[in-house]
Point group: C2
Chain length 105, copies 2
DNA sequence: TATATTTGCAACCTAAGGGTTGCACAATTA
DNA sequence: TAATTGTGCAACCCTTAGGTTGCAAATATA
């Protein structure tokens, strides 16, 4: 079952993991130390992030360093692009509309 | 219970709603016509989007037009900012690292 | 070889998500 | 006023999500 990046990002723990490894690649054990939950729980989050390719494993002996996959994160940026025009122009128009309606009452 | 914007966009139907009303404000009934589910199910999605302020209701008689709140959507853009540097530079470095490791074998 | 370490996987439990139907209520219209 | 329309809320059901414990496999170390 291929995961969806939006679903992957919806969990706060997974967002924290991404923030951590965007700075430096980490092993599952190293990540688990940062959170108040079992290593296995963190491992599940890693699995989700890996399945949707937001992170990439680099094996080194028995350790696995998970790296942040910036390229995949760009997909989120592309989805956001459809709304950029809105927050550049339309939100001023909405303010105007709301003001107009208020005045009509 | 205040909703989280990341959780709000994790659902495909809610993303579709946002895409629709980014173009033009719509009533719940008008939205429901676009989807293969009951009006009440769509209404639940609207509730989630409203609670986290990604959409804003504008009442007009007994109808309610939900408008896209571009300002709130910008929060995603701000969250993404922390990763921009990564996809501008680091993903090339990762490629290099992977290549290096491959050569070491 | 025996032992310790790092990791992943399976079973299980509980809470939350997303759908349904039914109903209540306010605003419009006959 | 009576009937229709647009909306939201509650109860319910089933599946998924996120946590736990326990175990197995692979690598490193004594």
């Amino acid at each position: 079952m291929k995961q969806d990046i939006f679903q992957a990002i919806s969990d706060p723990t997974r967002r924290a993991i991404l923030t951590l490894i965007a700075i430096q690649a980490l092993t599952p054990n190293a990540m688990a130390e940062k959170f108040d939950m079992t290593r296995q729980a963190v491992s599940k989050h890693i699995k989700v992030l890996h399945e949707c390719e937001l992170i990439k494993p680099v094996h080194s002996g028995r350790e696995i360093y998970y790296h942040f996959n910036a390229k995949k994160m760009q997909e989120f940026d592309h989805w956001l692009a459809q709304f950029r025009q809105n927050w550049e122009t339309q939100f001023n128009q909405l303010d105007q509309l709301l003001t107009t309606i208020k005045e009509q009452k």
